[in-house]
Symmetry: C2
Subunit: 355 residues, 2 copies
């Protein structure tokens, strides 16, 4: 049987464990998996593009478990009351090739993206980090802020979005968590004096959400919105002057902010930081940028986490997606069998029959 | 909601429609889809290999629907009471990127492989085709024979397998369908005088299931077992002397029988036959070989067929795998919401608080 985690089971998991402990738990799984980076068979995701959207398959394996995610990106979906990004993932056992788990990943992707951002911030942000600014109050914003609050000593959270109702939504959602988000009237107002800036917009094109003069020494920039060819958020001058952290360079050079730079521009992969091979920052004045695009390993960690927590909590349904056969070679007998009585199957025509 | 077709729903579909009409229906869908070959965005499947098995993702799209299949191949699985191949597939709407259907594809893969073989045989086999020989009585055999019986005027079906119980299973399964399968004591005995030979073995390595002297003029060979690098069933001399039909040349050159030939060996793609651009055979004496490896387009057709039939028959469950949001940008509000009363979320530390 394959365990099925639908949106109700995921909501229940978050209700029982709490969203902040879930974000912290995911961060622990991410740290553990990035620490054994060389165990994984990695490849850039397989993307199919249309003028109005993209569908991607993101597989990865460490030889014990195999994970992949199906995910779309359709910027026009909200106009039809649909989400820009939805996702479904599968975890399988490599020894047998049998699927173990199918999970909703729309929420799980938001959670693991935020947990990954927090992991990077915990390694790159200065020790004294009090003010977080978030540009873009869409689906990711609450998850990003809650995850950052777990690793930074925040005293101030500001946001800007071109849509005031989105800022009101963000503020209302986070107030019960003791996080008072201040809506700002401009990007300038939001990021002035911020220690960490998260850019999470959904606008297509090469945008300049942040300009070089808005970046102050020691700032950590968490750039999660630039994640496909032709979609970036940062002025390339910011990238050229900063220490750039990426998940998996071959994929990020195609999809991330650094698609704007030369293909040999210096980058550091997250696993090097996690493994202690490279520092998060070289000094207090350095600007650090996490050029987040989302890598399959994060979905692997997230599915592994959901598998463990759903087992512990007894969540999810068993789906009969794989036939269980009394005899391994008798798929037909188990799944089809004899024709129903009264049916008239086409017989052979007899050795000497005509046609 | 995503329609979920599990093995029970698939069994019920086969019971209600009958396996032979299902094979014929699939063949019609395959013919229609191969006829518009140029509409599809095609790529070789994404395979991850281990010494003991392979896991593959097979995506394809025509700009309206996007389909992919997860499928494994683990030759050692039957030793542990498991199947060599299991599969799960997903069909999505390209306009929104939203998944429409998740289906078991272990049975469906056997059905679509057999229907594809029958489609090719209907185009390539001589008009007078009475004797079918099948080498390998594993999971595919019944489906292959039933599908061939729909398009050939069979009067005789023979089989050989190194495991006599597998032949007994095949005979017992097909007898209720009016198909009397004769077990043979050797490959030679099975194929002597046969008009069509299906090879469907699961043995690893470059095998010579068929030798050149066993091939008689006008024979059609349906080679379905050679389907990954290092796994072939036919003597390359047979391929060199025959008209070779493939599904998608870039993939078959990696995985099919023709991996044994030069990379520019002549092949004809199935769509060319379906579109009438090329004949199935040039004369009655020509030997034709279908070098079947299984292409993503076949899964697309199969998922499209299952979607249509399950709708018509009212089969399948709705799975809540995609969150439905009152507000498209409020994923957090719909899926997480406020912390439970009594919980103590981590608040901000106050503007002047320490850490």
């Amino acid at each position: 049987m394959v365990k099925l985690i639908d949106v109700h089971a995921m909501r229940e998991l978050l209700r029982r464990d709490g969203v902040q402990p879930t974000l912290s738990g995911l961060r622990d799984y991410l740290r553990a998996d990035f620490a054994r980076w060389r165990d994984f068979d990695k490849s850039p995701r397989m993307a199919t593009h249309w003028p109005w959207g993209v569908i991607e398959l993101m597989p990865v394996s460490d030889g014990r478990l195999y994970a992949f995610k199906y995910v779309n990106g359709h910027l026009g979906n909200p106009r039809h009351g649909r989400q820009t990004v939805v996702a479904v993932g599968l975890l399988a056992e490599v020894a047998s090739g049998y699927p173990l788990l199918i999970s909703e990943m729309t929420v799980l992707t938001a959670l693991r993206t935020a947990a990954t951002s927090a992991l990077v911030a915990s390694l790159c942000a200065r020790a004294e980090t009090h003010c977080l600014a978030v540009v873009g109050a869409g689906s990711q914003a609450e998850f990003q802020i809650l995850a950052m609050a777990e690793v930074l000593s925040l005293t101030e959270v500001r946001c800007f979005d071109i849509r005031p109702p989105a800022m009101a939504k963000l503020r209302a959602n986070l107030s019960p968590y003791g996080l008072e988000v201040e809506p700002c009237s401009s990007i300038e107002a939001a990021v002035a004096g911020a220690d960490v800036v998260t850019t999470a917009t959904a606008v297509k094109g090469h945008r300049r959400i942040l300009r070089p003069e808005q970046v102050r020494p020691g700032m950590h920039i968490n750039a999660i919105g630039g994640d496909c060819p032709g979609k970036t958020e940062l002025d390339p001058q910011i990238l050229e002057a900063a220490r750039v952290i990426v998940e998996y360079a071959p994929q990020t050079r195609i999809e991330g902010e650094i698609q704007q730079l030369a293909t040999d521009s210096p980058v550091t992969e997250l696993w090097e930081l996690v493994a202690g091979l490279s520092p998060g920052r070289h000094n207090e004045a350095q600007v650090t940028v996490f050029d987040s695009v989302g890598f399959a390993l994060e979905d692997y960690s997230a599915l592994r986490y959901v598998r463990d927590r759903s087992q512990a909590l007894g969540l999810g349904e068993e789906a009969a997606l794989i036939p269980r056969l009394p005899r391994a070679d008798d798929l037909f007998g188990a799944m089809v069998g004899a024709p129903p009585a009264g049916s008239r199957p086409r017989a052979m025509q007899g050795r000497h029959g005509g046609d």
